[in-house]
């Protein structure tokens, strides 16, 4: 039986490496947002209200003045759709949480703290003490580093001069590598890339995001179907 105190300590210990890894990413996010004209206060607000790294980076890449609200919300919804499955898997493990702790706690569910909570739940009862001990410092670090990055970025000036405008593209390529699951991902990426670039040229932004994403999903669906068939054929043989 673990005490609340133990759970708090465990949560802090578990989240520490993720905080360190996220710090430079927060700084980079803030600097790029400043390059698109967002003030440090606006960066703070977006980080506090949304708290989703991938969706926030995509939003900044799409950002124009005035903000294309519908495109931003659509892109955010698509990128964060995976949360539904993460939450479905985590929900039965939250029996130690009351209603409020669930609804407040899940506001800041991210890939990192979700993965750590799932890991914890395999050996221990998941407690609000453990969850909030992870979430509070993790969220605070993201707020501090992204706002700081925006303040520094505003001083640095035009990000293109330093090649920093390409940092998004490089970051997203690296993130795609993290989601890599073989052949299906290859067809997803190829279809999404070609459809998006063509739509961008022929129709213009922001439609390239929807067109690319939907073609990517379609390609994944088709490629996974081919996988299923080959598995069935192997089973017959």
């Amino acid at each position: 039986m673990s005490t609340t105190r133990d759970d708090v300590r465990r949560g802090l210990t578990d989240i520490w490496p993720a905080m360190v890894a996220a710090a430079p990413i927060g700084l980079l996010f803030g600097a790029l947002a400043a390059g698109k004209g967002l003030s440090p206060l606006e960066v703070f607000l977006m980080s506090a209200m949304v708290f989703a790294g991938g969706a926030q980076f995509a939003a900044i890449e799409l950002w124009t003045t005035p903000a294309p609200v519908a495109a931003l919300v659509f892109s955010t919804l698509l990128i964060n759709a995976r949360h539904v499955l993460m939450g479905t898997s985590l929900a039965p493990k939250l029996s130690g949480f009351n209603r409020w702790q669930k609804f407040v706690g899940l506001f800041y569910m991210a890939d990192e703290n979700w993965a750590l909570a799932e890991k914890r739940a395999r050996t221990h009862r998941l407690t609000p003490a453990y969850w909030f001990a992870m979430v509070v410092p993790f969220v605070s670090a993201w707020l501090v580093t992204s706002t700081l990055g925006a303040s520094i970025g505003a001083v640095l000036g035009d990000p293109k001069r330093l090649g920093a405008d390409f940092a998004f593209t490089a970051l997203f390529i690296a993130l795609v590598a993290a989601f890599w699951k073989g052949r299906v991902t290859f067809w997803t990426v190829a279809a999404a890339g070609i459809a998006s670039a063509l739509t961008y040229r022929l129709v213009g932004p922001p439609w390239h995001v929807a067109a690319g994403a939907l073609c990517g999903l379609l390609a994944a669906w088709l490629a996974a179907g081919a996988d299923e068939r080959s598995v069935t054929e192997e089973a017959k043989a």
Binding site: R82, L85, F166, W180, T188, A224
Partner: protein, 99 residues
């Protein structure tokens, strides 16, 4: 320090969309069973969206950006996240200087 009202509206919309995905799982827990094919399509959402967002900058901007994207893909197969970003930025500065 200023907050543009349209920007604030965008943050609000993004926040509501994100929160909906985060609590959506509570309602679905125990009721959702995806076929392997639907699961594969669902898993493909993050890479599909990420690629759709960056494709214009990687493929439809110029040869320097496309070449730098190719170098970045190679780096992504063996280096950690921030090192990949560093390689990409250095590559684009280099290619822009010579192309």
């Amino acid at each position: 320090m200023s907050v543009d009202p349209i920007n604030l509206l965008a943050f609000l919309g993004m926040a509501i969309a994100t929160y909906a995905t985060r609590i959506g799982g509570l309602a679905l827990a125990g009721r959702l069973s995806l076929s392997p094919r639907a699961q594969a399509a669902f898993d493909a959402i993050p890479p599909a969206v990420l690629v759709a967002v960056i494709a214009p900058s990687a493929l439809a901007t110029g040869w320097a950006e496309t070449a730098a994207a190719a170098v970045t893909v190679l780096a992504a197969t063996r280096l950690p996240l921030l090192a990949v970003v560093a390689v990409g930025v250095v590559a684009v500065v280099g290619f822009r200087a010579v192309m």
